[in-house]
Amino acid sequence: MTTTTAGLPSDDPEDRDGPPSDDSEGRAAPPRRPGPAPAGASPSGPSPSKSSPSDPATGVPPASDSFARDALPAPRGASRSLLASLLAPHRRRVAVVAVLLLLQQAAVQAGPLLVAYALDHAVPALRAGEHGPLLAVAVAAAVCAMASGALQFGFIQLAARVSQDVLLDLRGRIFRHAQALSLDFHERYTSGRLISRATTDVESLRELLDEGLQELITIVLSTVYISVTLLWLDWGLGAAALASGAPLALLLRSFRHRAHRVYSAKSSAMASIIVKFTETLNGIRPVQAFRRERANDTAFARLNHHHERINGDTLLEMARYVVGSRLVANIALAAIVLWGACRVASGDLALGVLAAAVLYLRRLYDPIDRLGMFLNSYESAAASLHKIAGLLAQRPSVPEPAAPAALPPLADGRPGREVAFHEVGFAYRTGGEVLPRFDLTLTAGETVAVVGATGAGKSTLAKLLARFYDPSAGRVLLDGVDLRELPTGTLRRAVVMVTQEAFLFSGTVADNIALGRPGAGREEVERAAKAIGAHDFITALPDGYDTDVRKRGGRISAGQRQLVSFARALLADPAVLILDEATSSLDIPGERAVQRAMDTVLQGRTALVIAHRLSTVEIADRVLVMSDGRIIEDGPPDQLIADRGRFAQLHQAWRDSVG
């Protein structure tokens, strides 16, 4: 425990996603269990993380629980309007699809009519020795058959095109949106959920589009066709058939209502399974080393059984619906046939008409099951769409500027820019001040080291400068321009932050470095790697720069990963470089190489360096000592050592430790 003076007991509140609860406003609720809030107990206990209010744009109450429950608020009807906006660009093709189906249904549904015609006209004509009508029937049947096949063929292909384009669009939207959302969102929304949104939830929409939409159109069309044909054949029979629709509609309504509930629960249950799954896979080393397998089995089994239960519920809901609807349909069929038979018996109805009507009636009720299946996939997709819409409704808390400003040109070729914190304060939205108001100016080209115990607010300072967060008060200026007015592209070219966490993406080493400046050639990549001292180890890899880093850089040591991160930052060639504990896993020669690179390559750039190792301080022009969110010492290192203040103590401790 390092800092106790002001009750900021923990390491880096800024690394946490949530606000420390404030004594004056201790309403911050604990993350997921409704236990008593720690407010009041300690003046500023570190805070529950999941309790920052959700996005102001959606105007919903604090979303503390919505994150925990995996139910981000989406405006009413959001899932429907999402679906509409996805389908909108394909309006024309959807229309063509509908027409194809319309014609196809016409061809298919002509069958019984042909039967009626054959029985009532062609047979008597044939008996009269006239072959014409039968020939007509034969031709019509052949045409209908071929047409229905060809239309089916065309329809499937076109429908698949629409559905695949919609999915492509949706996947892209989720991906881009997730990347646009601010860090504080990602820190609260677990990665497993995001993966679940982009995979299983999209998958359920695919099922709806692939099977459901066709089903729905077919069902609607065939119902309309058959009803109209029945009415045309015999008004009474048709009306009776239509009347049976009322109880079916009621059944359908209640089914929809219940299905909605279970499917929503199912999608959440699946997401928590995915969360557990990814957590285990990504931490497989500690899982095995600490023999967590059995404990994980149990935990997973619990989640899995919950999903199994709900999964079973969805299937049972369907079973209930099928029984109900079939009962209604079969009772109606029996009643109508009986009535028709009586009418034929009384000479009120032609035999052929009854025969056709009976055939049509069976068909009329055929799609009931399919309607249920459609509703199944619809509800499943709606639940998923709702979650996706909730995700897409999140607005980045560091939004793009409405009126982007440009940075002034660099003054006489110097690569650095001036940074000014003007009246800046930072507090989490639920209260809990991390940085009280302060002013700070970093002159262009200056290397400033920030030291201080963990929890002092160093990382928050860095994140404000990198605009991972926006300040709650005041402005952060880069060469006089507010960071909030800079478009992301400009900002990221000007300010680059390297953190302790050195994640490598799958792809080659060169790809990972080139990420710093897309479009950089191999020579530039190598130059950056050489400057940072990473060239030797990279060339020693099996395929040199083209070596695949595999799954999350498994084969590249932590120190090497940090070197790659540095090379990436170097290649980005920013005006302002922020290093947040970026050398923690480097060995001493590695650290020296980095320092040399900063001396030479980054000469003239503005740098903000946070480091535990005070060796970094040796190259700094200026040192800030932070404590409890305040800058308590500020000056050149030599002067601070001479002043015998906090920094002098830290420096002495460090010298001792280096021994």
Binding site: T2, D15, R16, P31, G111, L134, G149, Q152, G154, I156, Q179, L183, S191, L194, I195, T200, I273, V275, T278, E279, L281, N282, P286, A289, F290, R291, E293, A295, N304, L315, L316, A319, L327, V337, A341, A345, V358, T454, F468, R492, T499, Q500, E501, D511, L515, G533, D546, R550, R555, A558, G559, Q560, L563, D587, I588, E591, H612, A653, S657, G659
Partner: protein
């Protein structure tokens, strides 16, 4: 972008000789076995229900030919009642079938998922190095959902519809064999079409599923690496990989749709043609007086009732093929041999676990007696199984003896294999040659489970799990020492104190019961590292492996942790990977790892004086050595 190529290369097995779909699906039997009775009954119920659907037209025929034609209202009532009865039976049987399979099928899916998860946890780390987790995840989610749907529909309905078609064919032939033959004419060409389709579709389905897996991997990485993506604005190649993968998936899916369109088109057109043919022939026969109008109606009605079973064969086959591909993907992982967990019972005498605080019996005995006690590496070599065959092994000849109770620092240039060496001790990897022994017992004869109980590790990357802070720490030792709740509390307090984590843990909203990890409070790097350290020391392990345990701590905290850690290390056999002098000073001796060998062993000062490479590593001067 190499992403795509790389990930697909790894898992794209579509070029492998295609196994037949049936053979693949048969492998699912062990999972189906427990629910076979229910499924069997459900299948019978389904057959019964669809036979009733076939009988209903016969009743209609009887109605039309008999009472209606005879203008007999009484008979019509009888027929109506019969129709009603059949209708009720059909509805109830439909429901019964679904009710019968609902829970069991959800159960099968869950069992398969759980089995996969258990298996994945027990697969060697080398396997996980090779497989992107997105591919594994997609097997556990979308593939299993496909399989559940397969059990619910294609499996049952291929059978049911087959029987229905057979029964229907018999009814048709019995009613009027000539018309029946006309109707059955398309069966042969359809069967040929189906078999051609099946093979092609199976391959396409497999490709699509692999692409979904790759897509999952890209999505996962883009989420896990979000800080970097944010820091640099945008990860273009990642975005490109995503775009390319989604496009590729789209074209595969369109290919699948094209196949589907062909088979469905034929499946629709040919039977319709046959029905048309039967209608014309029937009409001729009716006109000739050879056939009653009622028979023709019933006949066509039966034929129409058979249309769905015939039509559906196309998509049932498609689903079966997707299921077969999913099964292959599932078993690709399940067929990987898992590491045995408990292993062979070790013949060696069990060394009783040390009691708390007591020094190792041999700790003070000095060098003499303890030649094979402690942690001994002799001639250990290791190369990663997926390393290029011509590359030299990462570790060539490691010979090192860490005496009982001794702390050995392991120093080496970045990438020299320090972390790999530490991974051999808890048997995360097994050496390719040589021998490691723990207190005289050959590590190869100690089961992984036992080895991991003896050895505790603090990894370079301090991963916390979604659990309370206390659970995260106690998982280090809970299994080996059951103890009472109080004993555990004491242990927890002690471990937290050693790692200087007691203060910040107590200040968490719910103290040590606060949820941390991905689904809880996210802690800073330094806090995570201290919890991971506490986790390593909590069980008072006999062997302790610390991989750069203090890298994320500030100087002040580091000094406090060092002081507390010294006490623990004084009685524990430990290997500590160190990058800087402050960490090295925790150790009694230092081993320098260079070129896959232990190049030198000695105290810090000896090596600093005598070994230029070591001096360079520790001082940063004269990097020529690197």
């Amino acid at each position: 972008m190499a992403d795509t190529a790389q990930t697909t290369n790894q898992t794209d097995r579509t070029d492998l000789p295609q196994r037949s779909a049936v053979r693949s699906l048969l492998r699912l039997w062990p999972f189906i076995r427990p629910v076979r009775a229910r499924l069997g009954v459900a299948a019978c119920v389904a057959v019964l229900a669809s036979c009733i659907s076939l009988v209903i037209p016969l009743v209609l025929k009887w109605l039309v030919d008999g009472p209606v034609a005879a203008r007999d209202p009484g008979g019509a009532w009888l027929g109506g009642a019969f129709l009603l009865l059949l209708g009720l039976a059909e509805a109830l049987l439909f429901g019964l079938r679904r009710w019968l399979v609902a829970r069991p099928l959800a159960g099968v899916e869950a069992t398969m998922r759980e089995t996969l998860y258990r298996h994945l946890q027990r697969l060697p780390v080398a396997f996980h190095d090779r497989w992107p987790s997105g591919q594994l995840l997609s097997r556990g989610t979308t593939d299993l959902q496909l399989l559940r749907m397969f059990f619910a529909f294609p499996l049952m309905f291929l059978l049911v519809n087959g029987v229905t078609i057979l029964v229907g064919a018999v009814i048709l032939l019995v009613q009027r064999w000539s018309l029946g033959l006309v109707l059955l004419a398309p069966v042969l060409p359809l069967m040929v079409l189906c078999s051609v389709f099946e093979a092609k579709y199976g391959r396409a389905a497999r490709r699509a599923q692999d692409q979904v897996g790759d897509l999952t991997t890209v999505v996962e990485e883009s989420v896990l690496g979000i800080r970097i993506i944010k820091g640099f604005g945008r990860h273009r190649s990642q975005a490109r990989a995503f775009r390319e993968l989604t496009r590729a998936l789209r074209s595969t899916e369109l290919g699948k749709a094209r196949l589907l369109a062909w088979i469905w088109g034929c499946m629709t057109a040919l039977p319709e043609l046959a029905i048309g043919g039967a209608l014309v022939c029937g009409a001729v026969q009716v006109a000739d007086g050879e056939l009653s109008a009622g028979t023709l109606v019933a006949f066509l009605s039966t034929a129409l009732a058979l249309r769905w079973p015939v039509d559906s064969i196309g998509f049932l086959l498609a689903m079966s093929n997707e299921a077969a591909a999913a099964t292959d993907r599932y078993f690709e992982v399940m067929d990987e041999p898992a590491v045995e967990e408990s292993g062979p019972p070790t013949p060696a005498v069990r060394i009783p676990p040390r009691t708390a605080g007591a020094p190792t019996a041999t700790a003070g005995a000095g060098a003499g007696a303890a030649t094979d006690q402690g942690l001994v590496f002799s001639g250990v070599a290791f190369r990663y199984p997926d390393a290029p065959p011509d590359s030299p092994p990462l570790l060539r000849d490691i010979t090192l003896h860490i005496r009982p109770g001794e702390t050995m620092a392991l120093v080496g240039a970045t990438g020299s294999g320090k972390t790999t060496l530490t991974a051999l001790v808890p048997r995360l990897y097994d050496p390719t040659a040589g021998r490691i022994s723990l207190d005289g017992r050959d590590l190869a004869t100690i089961s992984r489970d036992e080895a991991r109980a003896m050895v505790a590790v603090a990894f370079e990357e301090p991963t916390l799990f979604s659990a309370t802070a206390a659970e995260n720490v106690l998982m280090g030792g809970a299994a080996s020492r059951p103890g009472g709740a109080d004993a555990q509390d004491d242990e927890l307090r002690r471990a937290l104190a050693v790692a200087q984590a007691d203060g910040f843990v107590a200040a968490l909203p719910e103290g040590s019961a606060t949820q941390v990890g991905e689904q809880g409070l996210s802690l800073s790097g330094g806090q995570r590292q201290r919890l991971a350290l506490a986790r390593a020391v909590v069980g008072r392990p006999r062997f302790l492996i610390l991989d750069d345990p203090l890298s994320a701590l500030d100087v002040h905290t580091e000094a406090l942790v060092e002081a507390a850690l010294r006490q623990v290390l004084s009685t524990t056999t430990a290997l500590v990977v160190a990058h800087r002098p402050s960490t090295v000073l925790l150790a009694d001796r230092v081993a320098l790892l260079s070129g896959g060998r232990i190049a030198a062993v000695g105290t810090h000062h000896e090596l600093l004086r005598d070994n230029p490479e070591y001096a360079a590593l520790m001082s940063g001067e004269g990097e020529g050595a690197r």
